[in-house]
Symmetry: C2
Subunit: 371 residues, 2 copies
Amino acid sequence: MARRKLSLAGPATLRDVARVAGVHPGTVSRALNPQTRGLVNEQTARRVLEAAEELGYRPNPIARGLRTNRSHTIGVLVPDLMNSLFAAVVRGIEDGLREAGYTPLIANTDNDAAREQVAFEAMSARQVDGFIAATAVRDHWLLPDQVRSGAKVVLVNRRVASDAIPAVTGNDHEGIRLAVEHLAELGHRRIAHVAGPQALYTGWSRHQGFLDAMRALRLEVDPSLIVFSDAFTEREGARCCGELLDRRRDFAAIVAGNDLLALGCYDAFEARGLDCPGGVSVVGYNDMPFVDRFRPPLTTVRVPHYELGATAAALMLEQLRSREAPPRQLLLAPELVIRGSTAPVAEPPAPRASTRTAAKSTTAGETGTSP
Amino acid sequence: MARRKLSLAGPATLRDVARVAGVHPGTVSRALNPQTRGLVNEQTARRVLEAAEELGYRPNPIARGLRTNRSHTIGVLVPDLMNSLFAAVVRGIEDGLREAGYTPLIANTDNDAAREQVAFEAMSARQVDGFIAATAVRDHWLLPDQVRSGAKVVLVNRRVASDAIPAVTGNDHEGIRLAVEHLAELGHRRIAHVAGPQALYTGWSRHQGFLDAMRALRLEVDPSLIVFSDAFTEREGARCCGELLDRRRDFAAIVAGNDLLALGCYDAFEARGLDCPGGVSVVGYNDMPFVDRFRPPLTTVRVPHYELGATAAALMLEQLRSREAPPRQLLLAPELVIRGSTAPVAEPPAPRASTRTAAKSTTAGETGTSP
DNA sequence: TTGAAAGCGCTAACAC
DNA sequence: GTGTTAGCGCTTTCAA
């Protein structure tokens, strides 16, 4: 337990250990590295381990990295940690990376390409071994150049057309289908969509999912019932929903691109004296913390953000371990969480809609999971 | 703009630049470092800069760090990023550090001493230049040993008795005073306290603040109106508040140790059919995102978490720049945010209370800041 | 199985 | 002013 050092100050070095163990530094290196321990005599190895222990020796990853060109560090690019969604993703990444001995280096980009570029450069300079990008911008500079130039990249919360890049995302298609089906089962035929920004992957994919889900249920997709927001914010949700409401009132259900947009819908309802869910139902997306405490508690689609992060970490480790690991693209299943913001249609559906009846009634509370 | 390299592969090195500029690597180092540029000929410097630009040279901080023993990296120890409060602190730190060229290395500890210890070791090994600890545990292993042994540490969101360690915290004393005064002005005399865990600094300091504020207002401090929670969670808030409510009903106001505990109080009210704020008022602490959307919207004390982080970063930079910078201890002013969870007493105050009248009425909306 | 020696990319003390 | 040299702490050939 004694912690006396041989070198004058600072932590013990490989050389100090070598001196104490009476061997050459190279031997200490071999003995201490599990990979190469086999090359060294059992006896000697033990002596080295003891000496290291006695000196409280900690290998210096900086020096090691300089030699090996591996920093055991992964750059994590995220729009904004203050968004609880990304905080969860990051924790998943951190926990997933930890046991493998990797450490995340985190940077917030605020979805600003310039800031992202800078962060990427800085991280490259710091010799990160790879990047996990949770930045949701579509048509992204990161992909064409960097990936081809050998940087290991894993996408989380978004993907690209190309199959060359490993990615893990929530299954938005499925999630939106759950939302639309839920509303349809409540008798809604005319369903509106407050879509997220189409420049962001999640905004775009959920919009696509909406179109497909409506068609699959043979519900009419009315372009005038779709409004595109400029940002995933409450303010934009209020603006878009207001626009919708001022345009027409022959619908009583809204699928929002995420929870913040849904929250904005609440504001628009209140400004117009509309009751939710009595007058109009709304479904959010993400199941952020505390949406169950809103007035009314928000029905929403839960995305397993922590698992998204943990899985992204696993994909990264795969890439790191073998040069030729196939770039897997994973979809994680969402889950509909039915709360208080959705209710059966009060008025009869609009005249033109077919009279298809709802398949079955849904009980409130906990809920339908997808496979 | 061309990016051809001289060395076969990998990024350009100092030597590559030297070769292109036709000078010695040492000269390149001097020319590129703003600190030492003065030592080199204007002409030569320009040539070097151009060569560096042409090659797309990026200095390798790993190599530099090995030489200088400075990594330009700060370890950040935080209980849990998924807690929005700490996410804000971390963003403040990141932004505060960035312009000085420092990067945070973040680890979550979940308030677990063992995990914190491990994270600390790992960061030390990675040669971080200092630590910013947002971990709120009192009586903390970090301080006695490490600080004395030369590690630079800045505390955020907590402090210690010793003045030797720089710290920046919210002024809990002041914040709780604002809360208690607000309730007193609404006519409350018997005020209960659902205190946070006393093992955590914020739980403890707010409890102290509560005692002082009550005494300052000459309100009776009744020990049976104070319950200590085991954690800053909604569940614990519900348990403690329930205990209080089942014990007696001759109070109509609660100061909670934080917003989550206040939220738990909501649950306890609901379970007992109590109306808030009609039957009982409650004040939270922190002003987390979305507490304004709760039912009722939560009256709470806002803590400038982002600024806490940014200030902590500034204090760290001070320590880093000069060996003998005084370890400043800063208090940031909180702000009372009055919303819907507090209301005037319905029943007359309990008989024993003195009949001191409220000093002045408070207007709703934005509100009193401290100096 | 171990020692010797070179060198990762950079900085800094010293010499010219 | 600029070149020279020596290493930071570690890994990894190459010999022995």
